[in-house]
Every structure is written in C-alpha cells, then in structure tokens.
C-alpha cells in the first residue's frame, strides 16, 4: 500500500517502557475538499491502526479525517520479552499493510 517508517529500540531492558514511533505515507483525503474541476475529492483514509507485541494487542487507534496526511503515531509499551512487534494499518476499503520490527529484551 504505502511506505511505512517505524522506530523501535533494537534492545531494551526487561520491564522498561519503550517509545515506538510510526509513520505511514497516505493522503488521508478528508472528503470535504473540492478539486480543481469543482468536484468533491472522495474520502480516502486509513481508519484503523493496531500494534501487537508477540501476538498480544498493546495499542489500537481509530483514525478520522482529522488526522493529518501521512499519519504519525507515537506511543509507549512495556518491553516484556524478546520477540516481534507487528504494526498493521487498514484503510477504509479494507486494504491492510503490515510491518514488523524485532526487539531483543535483556
């Protein structure tokens, strides 16, 4: 679907609170704008973002057109064990993009 940037610390101490930053390229067209031809530009947004840590959901966001283009979301999670953090964005048409990041917990 689009290019996504993720920042997850490669290593963390057990029990540490880590910050995760995500950004995905997307127009987040509101549906309220009018194009040069005078026709409304149809709405096209990503409306769901989920982050799972070794299969357990740790963060979920429902996005609305009031989120800026190229949605940036940063949040926190507890570094519990080594494994994989999975990020998935779903747009209003149901298309999903998935990215993963490994993390080593000492």
């Amino acid at each position: 679907m689009a290019r996504a940037l993720i920042h997850v610390p490669a290593t963390a101490k057990r029990g540490e609170v880590i910050e995760i930053k995500t950004l995905i390229a997307h127009v987040m067209e509101t549906g309220y704008r009018v194009g040069v031809t005078g026709k409304p530009i149809p709405r096209d947004i990503i409306d769901d973002f989920v982050c799972t840590y070794n299969g357990e959901e740790v963060f979920r966001a429902k996005l609305y057109p009031a989120i800026a283009a190229n949605p940036y979301i940063s949040f926190f999670t507890l570094a519990a064990e080594s494994g994989t953090i999975v990020f998935s964005w779903t747009d209003q048409h149901g298309a999903t993009q998935v990215q993963t990041a490994p993390i080593t917990v000492e």
Partner: protein
C-alpha cells in the same frame, strides 16, 4: 393597546428573523461540528459516564500557522498497573467538519498512558481529550488553539 403590542412584537420578530438569516448567510463552512455536536459525539463514545476535569494533559501549540498538521500529545496521569490503568483516550474538536479526531485503546501493557500524533484543524477552537479509566471513571483535559491557515476544507494546492 393589545393591537399596538402585537404590532411591536411582529416587528421585533421580523427583525430577529432578518438577523438570523444574515448570520446563516455569513457562515460559509458546510456542516461544521459545533460545541453541541462535540458534546453529542462525546456522549456517543463514552456513554452516560460523568466526566471529571483533570488527570489528562493535552499538549498542542497555542498558535498554529498551518492547520494541516498540528502536533498533538496526550498524557494521562495513571500508574498503568494491571488493576489501575487507562483503557481508552479520545480526542474531540469543536469546529472541524466532524467532531472526532482519534480514539485510542490501550491497556496495562502500554506502560505509560500517552501518545502523540498530528491532527488537522479547520479553525481556532478548543480541543478536548477524554480518558476512560479501568475503574469506569472518565477524565478530561482541554486546550485552546489559534489557527491562521485552516485545514480540511481548503482547496488542494497540488
């Protein structure tokens, strides 16, 4: 005498209708959210729970040059333990075309009840964040933002 009172009232009503019509014509934004629709939206999301002020810190710049991407951070004062945590944070606006901005669900695994994003603002307005806690209470924080270039409705610059 009743005749006179009646005519004066008629005139006042006519004047009021004219003033109201004038205001409607001045408003160019189609179907914008209002503080009332924001309150309705809050009720639709959190239900009938009482909302108390406090615990929620909503961080936005006071003056925004470009409403197309306004950095926005919410932090809720919570220990985030298995028994006492924030389960959801919602952001609402008063004057964008619709009152919703973002709804976030989290749990004790978050470690810290905070997140950041970038939002669109169509006008100078008050932004409200509401946190739902695991014990069922709701807390809110609000902040005023002044916007010089509006987002959402402006024509594409591409």
């Amino acid at each position: 005498m009743p005749q006179h009172r009646h005519s004066r009232r008629t005139i006042l009503q006519a004047a009021g209708a004219l003033a109201g019509g004038g205001l409607l014509q001045l408003s160019t934004t189609p179907a914008a959210a209002t503080p009332e629709t924001m309150q309705d939206a809050i009720r639709a999301v959190i239900g009938e729970a009482a909302v108390q002020n406090g615990k929620v810190k909503l961080d936005l710049p006071q003056i925004v040059e470009n409403g197309n991407a306004v950095p926005c951070t919410v932090a809720v004062d919570s220990p985030m333990t298995a028994t006492d945590y924030v389960k959801a944070i919602h952001i609402f606006n008063e004057k964008n075309p619709q009152p919703y901005v973002i709804s976030v669900q989290l749990g004790p695994r978050a470690g810290r009840a905070a997140f950041s994003t970038r939002i669109r603002l169509a006008d100078s307005q008050t932004i409200t964040a509401i946190a739902e806690l695991s014990d069922g209470t709701c807390w809110s924080g609000a902040t005023d933002v002044i916007v010089t270039l509006a987002a959402c409705i402006e024509e594409s610059i591409h």
